[in-house]
């Protein structure tokens, strides 16, 4: 509860700080607020808590999930220093405020006990992201992306709400532990059809948020159109919160129905893996590729979810963290390079390694991690996820996933080939010291977690 309260208060404070003359205070203040919240997030460590009339529930795992979200937010906000100088169009106070507010939604999605809270969380997060997507007000594509996202998001929210209503109709409760109890008294083929319809629609609504196929079509357009920094923001935070919410729903109340939803979810997983990975191959824009990459990683995370073994939670958790770290550094490099080159394409990276070995290295670690090459966190994440599938015994799913990740190597390495082996006239890029520190931390974490995954796993 504390982080939610703090973030709300801090968000308002940041808005007021926006009135002050010196805008320079905003970034450090926001970072400080995030840091305070990050610490406050863990006050209930080793306790299970229930707040707000038992509508909010949490344990160590959900605190770690919130921690990942807050940490990613911290890194992304720290990287806004590169974004900030975009002239009069930028209104930092509002953006920082909205980012803080959106985190309230994310944390609610992670630790809901009542479906109402889930809905409110999804809405808080989504509405914030709609605004952030359109924040580049004079850029037509940014506007287009915001509108598209909003339209489709509204549609998905409608479906989700409908699903919740149907579930309420079937069980008489919004509380997921109650729903679990009510469902648990009957075998899966004796449940009411109302429940199933509700369940499927609720799933669809959430799957839309994590951009699973065939509900992923918004992702490339929105990611591409949004200002890069906010693309980084949504691809890390929305994804982590979305999967935490899905896991909570499936494990917390619908685990006994796994036989029912397994086939549907497995099909969606395969579709997501293929759509993400195959389409990514054809992209010429690095940023757009990252959008497809985000779809394909949703596919890998879905594997753990579909398998739903005892270890799925820690797999999802570790994978989200690994993915968030690599994504932050990939976007961090992209922001610098695209500022210099005025392009998001692969060839903007040509010859990066020659004058900017540090950036090239950060990029390399990030790509290797996303591709799942050993000694990086991404490899460990994939390993855990695949282990889940193997435990569940769905070998065919595993085969698809491994083929998909083989395809992944192709498009992740393209940018490395450009950076290391192609000739280019990229000049030395000046990196602000703080920006550099963030990149170093993120890269180091990626490697350290690739070597010692237990550092995080033992928390859960």
């Amino acid at each position: 509860m504390l982080p939610i309260v703090l973030l709300s208060v801090f968000g308002i404070v940041v808005l007021f700080l926006g009135f002050s003359k010196s805008k320079n205070i905003l970034l450090p203040a926001t970072l400080l607020f995030l840091l305070v919240t990050l610490i406050a997030n863990f006050v209930d460590w080793n306790h299970q808590y229930l707040y707000f009339n038992d509508m909010l529930w949490g344990n160590n795992a959900s605190m770690v999930f919130s921690g990942i979200v807050l940490l990613s937010a911290f890194f992304v906000v720290a990287l806004t220093r590169g974004f900030e100088q975009e002239g009069e169009a930028a209104q930092p106070a509002e953006y920082y405020g909205i980012m803080l507010f959106s985190l309230v939604g994310a944390i609610m999605m992670i630790s809901y006990e009542n479906l109402i809270i889930l809905f409110v969380g999804v809405e808080i997060l989504s509405v914030s992201i709609y605004i952030l997507t359109g924040s580049d007000k004079r850029n037509l594509r940014s506007n287009e992306a915001a509108l598209k996202y909003f339209l489709m998001g509204a549609f998905a929210t409608g479906i989700m709400l409908f699903g919740m209503a149907l579930m309420y109709g079937a069980t008489g409760s919004f509380v997921i532990s109650d729903i679990s109890e009510i469902i648990g008294t009957r075998a899966w083929n004796e449940q009411s059809q109302l429940l199933y319809a509700g369940l499927l629609m609720l799933l669809v609504g959430l799957l839309f948020k994590v951009s699973a196929a065939p509900f992923h079509f918004w992702t490339p357009d929105v990611y591409d159109g949004a200002p890069t920094i906010f693309t980084a923001y949504m691809s890390t935070i929305v994804k982590t919160a979305g999967f935490a919410a899905l896991y909570r729903l499936l494990a917390g109340s619908l685990a006994s129905l796994q036989d029912y939803w397994f086939a549907t979810l497995a099909t969606i997983t395969v579709l997501t893996l293929l759509a993400g990975n195959v389409t990514a191959v054809y992209q010429t824009s690095f940023k757009r590729m990252l959008a497809y990459s985000s779809i394909s990683h949703a596919g890998y995370l879905l594997i753990a979810l579909t398998s739903l073994t005892a270890k799925s939670q820690s797999s999802i958790l570790f994978y989200s963290l690994a993915y968030s770290l690599s994504t932050v550094s990939a976007f961090g490099v992209l922001i610098l390079v695209s500022q210099q080159q005025a392009s998001n394409n692969y060839d903007a990276f040509n010859g990066l390694a020659k004058k900017n070995p540090f950036l090239a290295f950060v990029l390399a670690v990030s790509m290797l991690s996303l591709a799942g090459i050993p000694l990086t966190a991404g490899f460990m994440g994939k390993l855990f996820v695949f282990t889940d599938a193997a435990q569940k015994g769905t070998i065919w799913l595993l085969v698809v996933a491994i083929l998909a990740s083989a395809i992944g190597i192709y498009y992740y390495f393209r940018v490395l080939i450009a950076a290391y082996f192609k000739e280019g006239d990229l000049a030395t890029i000046r990196i602000a010291p703080f920006y550099k520190v963030v990149l170093i931390i993120v890269t180091t974490l990626t490697i350290v977690l690739g070597l010692f995954p237990d550092l995080v796993l033992q928390l859960v």
Partner: protein, 636 residues
């Protein structure tokens, strides 16, 4: 006894310092750092030796950490210090220290000075690991590590393609042997479920003589020894290995690394004592190698090549000894050989140094006046290796030959023949190099000079050791007490219990021993005399390249073994590899490019779905939901 860890660690430290900082550290400091590690390790080894004896000569086991644990198999990272490893430690660090000090002078003008010391230190580290490890896997780490260092140092002057080829040859030949060694380890794990010496040998001692598993293990391990210790058929790399700097030839390719095979056999004496068939093979291979090496040595004109073939031949003697279960005499020969062969190589290095990198003995001559210290020490070494009393080589070789005589008189006869050849080629080398008149260019003659103190000092120390080293193990016939053999006796207790028949020697009578000694010493002296007549009295000089005839040509060209290997193995391997390559190229390209094309085409199609129209996206979502609903409610 935790200080034992420092023995391998100090050279490793030297490697790290010099290896990382060799561009920045000044030369003098590099030499000091590089030599300090081995010298300190030697001091510690001596201390270890003393405390080992003080505490009653029981094997010391130093457990560092559990390294690999898989199921019931546990491979600890541990050291075992007993008589064998202690003696090896003393040889490696002692001779190693001398050669490091020598290198300070010898390599001083080389631009890769720091790199050289780094590699040399790394070699010591691995060699120490090899002899200190308490199980076959640690030995294997050392085994591979010294192979790597040998490769690096043979190809040290890597701007020369021939040297690089020599390095590769050594590495590949060793790899063939290593495969055998590795299979041997696998078989040990499969048979005994452990790799620790103590456990494995305890279990092996209960097995029957000549049981197939033991024979297989010993054969496979011996394949490894063939590679590392340059025995037929894997010996051809060693002469080529002379491409490396001379101190390397002395340390790695004469004194230490090439004796790893002998160490391994003695270490596994429980196995070998239970496998008489393997022992017979080892004796035959050893004897054949001894003769082959010696005969090739007769006609070589490169000072280092002569010594290289001599090493091959001496290693053959050691294996001959092992083959007749004369473990201690073989080890004795390892030790004396380390002294006099290191000395010979270092002496040769000193000559080469003085001759401005000339190695052809036909262009030398009369060097004894200009290089008095080198000459004097070289003489000592030559007498020692030729087996002339009272220098060290006599005692160790005689010890082996006496044991061989008990085993088979024919083998003994052939062994003596080998030592006749040894004596001849060594005195030939000595006379051609140091006697007569100078046959090189004027410029070379002008440059002739004795080497600096850092090079002559090790020569003198080694000369003393070569001269008196033999007194460590004087036979009873010569009123000695076989000190070394007595010291090493506990090593074979287990084997003697397992196979008492093999250890039941009847001793030769003293008269018989005198006769044997007389024959071999007399033959060696005659050969030396022959060499004196040919090369000093008649002043004949070997013919120029390409002018040899008949048998001489055959031997000079090393029986065309290299050419035969090339024709049989290398060429056919190349052909097979070409075939596999072109086939693989075709098939793999087909599969890889085909997959790539399929994915790309699919991507091109899928991409079209992303048409930017929101209405279409929503339509797809609706379609998706509809299909899900239909499937779950009606079809399923």
């Amino acid at each position: 006894m935790s200080f034992l860890v420092l023995i391998p660690l100090l050279p490793l430290l030297g490697f790290l310092i010099n290896g990382i900082g060799f561009r920045r550290i000044p030369k003098n400091l590099v030499g000091i750092i590089g030599s300090a590690g081995p010298v300190a390790a030697f001091a510690l080894s001596v201390y270890a030796f003393i405390s080992f004896q003080a505490q009653g000569s029981a094997p010391i086991h130093v457990h560092l950490f559990d390294w690999i644990t898989v199921g019931t198999l546990n491979i600890p990272f541990a050291f075992q210090i007993d008589q064998l490893s202690l003696l090896m430690l003393l040889i490696i660090t002692g001779v190693g220290s001398l050669i490091h000090i020598y290198s300070v002078g010898y390599m001083h003008h080389d631009e890769g000075f720091g790199k050289f010391f780094a590699f040399l230190n790394l070699f010591l580290f691995f060699m120490l690991l090899l002899v200190m490890g308490s199980n076959f896997v640690i030995m294997f780490i050392g085994w591979e590590g010294v192979g790597l260092c040998s490769y690096l140092l043979i190809g040290f002057w890597n701007k020369n393609t021939n040297y690089n080829n020599a390095a590769r040859k050594a590495f590949i030949m060793n790899r063939i042997g290593d495969l055998g060694y590795l299979l041997g380890i696998f078989l040990i794990i499969q048979q005994f479920g452990a790799v620790e010496y103590a456990v494995v040998f305890e279990k092996a001692a209960t097995m029957a003589v000549d049981s197939p598993a033991i024979v297989a293990i010993t054969m496979l391990l011996f394949v490894g020894a063939m590679g590392k210790s340059a025995q037929i058929p894997l010996y051809t790399w060693l002469p080529d290995a002379m491409a490396g700097p001379t101190p390397v030839s002395a340390l790695i390719h004469a004194a230490t690394m090439v004796t790893a095979g002998i160490y391994m056999v003695i270490r596994s004496n429980v196995f070998y004592s239970l496998a008489p068939d393997t022992l017979d093979l080892i004796a035959i291979v050893g004897l054949a190698t001894a003769l082959l090496g010696a005969s090739i040595g007769l006609f070589q004109n490169d000072i280092k090549k002569v010594l290289a073939y001599s090493t091959v031949s001496q290693l053959g003697y050691m294996f001959l000894g092992l083959g007749v279960m004369a473990y201690s005499p073989s080890f004795f020969h390892v030790m004396t050989h380390a002294f006099f062969k290191a000395l010979l190589f270092l002496g040769a290095g000193s000559v080469i140094h003085a001759m401005s990198d000339e190695q052809d003995i036909r262009k030398m001559g009369g060097l004894r006046h200009k290089l008095p210290v080198t000459f004097a020490t070289f003489v000592v070494a030559t007498i020692a290796i030729s087996g002339i009393p009272p220098f060290s080589g006599f005692f160790s070789k005689d010890d082996i030959l006496a044991n061989v005589y008990q085993h088979s008189k024919i083998m003994w006869g052939l062994g003596v023949l080998g030592s006749v050849m040894t004596s001849f080629y060594m005195f030939r080398l000595l006379f051609l190099t140091f006697f007569g008149t100078f046959r090189g260019t004027k410029q070379q003659e002008h440059h002739l000079h004795e080497s600096p103190l850092s090079m002559t000092l090790p020569l003198v120390v080694l000369a003393v050791l070569s001269a008196v080293g033999g007194f460590l193990n004087v036979p009873e016939a010569l009123f000695g007490s076989m000190k070394l053999s007595g010291f090493m006796a506990p090593l074979y207790e287990l084997a003697a219990k397992a196979n008492p028949v093999a250890f039941a020697h009847q001793h030769l009578s003293h008269t018989q021993e005198y006769v044997l000694m007389g024959v071999s010493v007399g033959a060696a002296l005659l050969a030396a005399l022959g060499a004196y007549v040919v090369f000093v009295v008649k002043k004949s000089v070997p013919a120029a390249d390409g002018q040899e005839t008949g048998l001489q040509k055959l031997v000079y060209n090393k029986y065309y073994v290299d050419e035969a290997y090339d024709a049989i193995f290398v060429k056919s391997m190349r052909t097979a590899s070409d075939l596999a390559y072109s086939f693989g190229e075709f098939m793999i390209d087909l599969v890889v490019n085909g997959t790539g094309k399929v994915v790309k085409n699919a991507a091109a199609k899928l991409r079209l779905l992303q048409n930017g129209a929101t209405s279409f996206y929503v339509f797809m979502m609706v379609l998706g939901i509809t299909v899900i609903m239909l499937w779950n409610f009606w079809i399923k």
